[in-house]
Amino acid sequence: MNRAAIVLICCAALRAEISTILVASASGPALDPAAVAWKAVPSVSLSLQRTPLLYATDQPATLQISAVQIQMVRAAGHVYARLEWQDRTRDSETLPKAERAWQGEHLVKQSGATDRFFDACALMIPAAASEVFPSLQMGDPEHPVQIYLWDATRGSAVMEAHGRETTRRTGKTFSSQSTWKDSHWAVVMELPELPSGTPVAVAIWNGDQQDRDGRKYFSVWHKTQ
């Protein structure tokens, strides 16, 4: 990423209002995004920015999703985060499970498409308990991060990173549930217990806008309480 782009990101971070996300307590797991219990949980609206174009060859993208609503509850040794955002298109597919086997007897499953991208969201937290905001660009060598990625088609994955281009899948997954209704995605992720004050940042990918990788919506860091 060029220097101008980094400056742009920093400006976006300064401009955005830094809200504190209140973590409520609940009696039991709250994975269902449509559960009535979520209505009682305080919701914070995090404003989203588009990342600057990372490649000169990228098509410009408009700001279609201006904010994401986040709610967090602590229950049964976990923190549940519910993200809700408006998205006019549901970019998600049910793909057949593929085997990496070549030849053999099994019927070869056909690939669906080559040029579509799927909706996704992610929560980034510091890898070690810390109140310092790591770099928004996937952390930095002193402040590595963990990323809880949910993809509308491919499910969940825990990733870790210590700076741009270092993101790596850990092989772990986490529990999540999602709904898409009335042009809104609602996703609940089951995170590990987070100490009070842990900063979180959110990213949203809109498949319809060919979002993937660093082409996405992002929020700045927000503290939890």
């Binding site: 060859t57 593929a98 499953k109 690939s111 669906g112 080559t114 040029d115 281009e165 993101t167």
Partner: protein, 337 residues
Amino acid sequence: MSQHQISMVLDLNKCLGCQTCTMACKKLWTDGDGMDYMYWNNVETRPGQGYPRKWDKIGGGFENGQLRPSELPSKEDYGQTFEYNYTERLFEGGLQAMPQEEVRNTPNWDEDVGAMLLGENYYFYLPRLCNHCTNPACVAACPRNAIYKREEDGIVLVDQERCEGYRYCMRACPYKKIYFNELLGKAQKCIFCYPRIEKGEVKACAKQCPGRLRFVGYLDDPESAVHKLVHVYKVALGLFPEKGTEPNVFYVPPFNPPRQGNYGKSVLDDPRMPMDYLVYLFGEQVIEVIKRLEGELKKAQDGGHSDVLQLLIGRDAHVRYQVNRPELVHIQGVKKI
């Protein structure tokens, strides 16, 4: 920069368009889930739409050192993958074997259509595979460093563990020779049969070629046919040199006799196909290459000996392939893995 560069030269004058190379590759490498539409090696009729459709028109490669914009081809651009009504035809009294869906595009859709020049049809076959470029646009475009060029032989590979399926590589490749396996969420491409090369065996597409038009060896090995054809005899050119990726697959351009008569006449005076088209594919140098080949042909027709034509005949495997070259270690002073 790789220490060695494996390379291929294809003599387009010998290509039959039989697709044996295509099937050799298909059976060996792209016979898995989500790979049905992929032909890492394909043969297309030129002039023609190509595979994927209009790949040569949708950008990619470099311009002034920067990646040029491009598009992702759709599945329909690659061509449909359909089944026939075998059960109905074979077991239920059906009269015709028909595709089970309306077919609007397939790989090789416009086979043998070509184009017209002065009321006469012309075309030739262009076998295509990953060019394992010296300056690969796919490597430059990948934000995850998932694509790499091997030191020992210059083969370009996609690390299937690092790849996240972002498809910047697909877009960047000016030859559109990277494919997306949506089921696995990974980019996949020709691997230059590296497991075979490591055992001193030639690529499957070359080995199976009935026309014996493929020459394989190390470009930096002075004894190899590819080195001689590219650097000594200078009769083989890469596709679209202006795209800046320095391809390592080279072609001996189609060299037809003049359209009418031939005695004492140059093909350039009365060509069977517009030279502009060959210039479009191979750059301005193609005219010099054709003159050079014409000179060699004249030499042979006059009873002389042409090393170039003798090599291009390539009757035996040992003439065409020099892949097992442990002596390169001594030539280059580099340990070959």
